[in-house]
Amino acid sequence: MKTLEEIEEIRRNKRQELDLRVNQNSPTREKHILICHGTGCTSSKSPEILKKFKEIIEEKHIENVRVIKTGCFGLCAKGPIVIIRPDDTFYAMVTPNDCEEIIEKHILKGEIVERLLCKDIDGSKVQKLDELSFYKKQKRIALKNCGRINPEEIDEYIAFDGYKALEKVLKEMTPEDVIKVITDSGLRGRGGAGFPTGKKWELTKAPVADQKYVVCNADEGDPGAFMDRSILEGDPHSVVEAMAIAAYTVGANQGYIYVRAEYPIAVHRFQIAIDQAREYGILGKNIWGTGFDFDLDIRLGAGAFVCGEETALLESIEGKRGQPRVKPPYPAVSGLWGKPTLINNVETYANIAQIILNGAEWYSSIGTETSKGTKVFALGGNVNNIGLVEVPMGTTLREIVYDIGGGIPNGRDFKAAQTGGPSGGCIPKEHLDTPIDYESLKQIGSMMGSGGLIVMDDTKCMVALAKFYLEFTVSESCGKCTPCRIGTKRMLETLTKICDGKGTEEDIHKLEKLATNIIKSSVCGLGQSAPNPVISTLKYFRDEYEEHVIDKNCRAKECKAMSKIIIDPEKCKGCGLCQRSCPVSAIKGEAREKREIDQDKCIKCGTCLASCPFKAIG
């Protein structure tokens, strides 16, 4: 148990101790070595780097240096990342073998290890984190603490104004005050649909009930999205604090966070955060003597995309099959075990404490007319700087892909960007300058979604992409309502037919008709949005569909049934390497003769392409 005074003292002392994390001119002789322990960097062995650093420091009895594990810095493509503070030096792709050199040169002599610096888009080597173009256009609010603090130490969170917002709310504000601030800030749900958060809180506060709940939706199911995971891994206390604030506001005393079991690191760190908060008396009975009770529990998902839908999620928390309920009644009226329940997404919660501390006006000054604040995107696919970016609403797609993302690798062209995962759509080249906010994305046939942003180059077939998403929805449809269960299956069959080169023009019309019907008649958001990938690719890449069904041609050469592998007789020297490499003996020809491919036998595996030293096969 800690009193408010004790917490304030921790904050003061710790803040001073950690000044070098945020102040490059900090008057200290200490140095902190921060090592990213997000999922990406952990997979590329960052825990070993941490161990190695500690060993060297101990062995050489080096003083005034600390090694700290942090959450995600965002630039996952260049991981594992090591940052030295206070001078803010950014080392990329570090291996355990580099630790010795960093200690010897940087820590002991103050020299930069040039070879480990990160190359910027223009090819120049950049020393400091904030000089990298990847970070220049970003504004970090939800990710404020990711990469700054050790997520497993509550004191480090407290040092940077942690739990100050909760204190302010419990001591100085009524629930109505909180709702007003959140409403005025213009914050909207970051899970994808963009429902005004203040309004949701107000709706949940309204009913009179003996029991209410607050829930955090951390069932980040969109393939290619990992924002929520990074927040939970890098700054779990910000979610604990926001949920406590939400509980106070709507009148709940119990909270649940529903996390995917596929995110073991996030679950582990969040559990640590809960335990620490309990130990400090920030969770539990009569918090800080204010009479407010609140406790928090983790519930694990078990691999069902539909559980990201709020009512399916509630069913799953209750231990049942995660099938959505018919709305209304909305969870604000009848949610968990029939009680009024507030459900917000992780990223939404991560903004709350900042809004309370800095005010609605500050928050609403960022962003566009209808979409305020920032949005975190998981940038992935065919783009140079894969990683996590947080930008003000209204930033254009071009800025994200080219200025932050560093453009498309291998000199290829941008073809489309996909937002909103299986519920969203593709944005083609001509809309690259659209400012990203809820409305404008909807207008061009996509949606904000939870924040996955996948870039595709010109080697991707848009019909095959639509098929990929339909495969996903078909396997994730819960089966409760017919349009979704059977409709999406029929759509997938039609798309498969087209990709196999057996489609007709009639099939395209069928797809359109089915799409409209499924959207109109499905029970929940999953079905209502499942046809979106088809609709948006049809809208912008109809010519590709037509090529598939009329010319039987896939220009991206991704649909194998339509691609033919041919040996160019001009270039073939008759070496026979392809013949030997072919797993199905489809290549004919005698020694030193020009070879030919038997198209009936060929399985289009592409092995021969790689084997030919004369590039005669294509």
Partner: protein, 160 residues
């Protein structure tokens, strides 16, 4: 029907006793069993049914709804290829195809000798390393078909 007896002396006693006799704990318990046994055996289902006082059919319904739970044991080496969008765009399908070709089993199946099983998994969240596959939860990033073959060759060599 054969009488099912369980007074919580069973194999899964340790797991069950961590939780209250509350139906909402079902998924947590199943997650623990899956973790411990690599699948959810009938015996475990029976014990859970007794403990939470709920029908076996209902438990079976929950198990088959969630893709993380399996009724069959996984292989000693469980290879999961990520088919999240970021990995798909970077060619993870080719890795899955090669894996199926090499092991001669389909997704969700286990080889006859119980050595390998394959899963096509959704985003594991390591998109920065796409395409990725995992073997018993160890992530292998920036994967290629060649790399997959090398790793499996290594496992085969070590096993012999």
């Amino acid at each position: 029907m054969e009488e099912i007896k369980c007074n919580c002396e069973g194999v899964y006693k340790e797991i069950l006793e961590k939780y209250d006799k509350d139906k909402s704990n079902l998924i947590k318990i199943l997650n623990d069993v899956q973790e411990k046994s690599g699948y959810i055996p009938l015996k475990a289902q029976q014990e859970i049914s007794e403990y939470l006082n709920m029908p076996l059919a209902e438990i079976y319904g929950v198990i088959t709804f969630y893709s993380r739970f399996t009724l069959k044991p996984k292989g000693k080496y469980h290879v999961a290829v990520c088919l999240g969008t970021a990995c798909y765009v970077k060619g993870s399908q080719k890795i899955l195809d090669r894996l199926k070709e090499r092991l001669k089993i389909e997704e969700g199946e286990t080889t006859a000798d119980g050595k390998y099983s394959i899963e096509a998994t959704r985003c594991v969240g390591a998109c920065g390393l796409a395409p990725v596959f995992t073997i018993n939860n160890e992530v292998h990033g920036k994967a290629t078909v060649k790399m997959l073959d090398e790793i499996l060759d290594q496992i085969d060599a070590n096993e012999e």
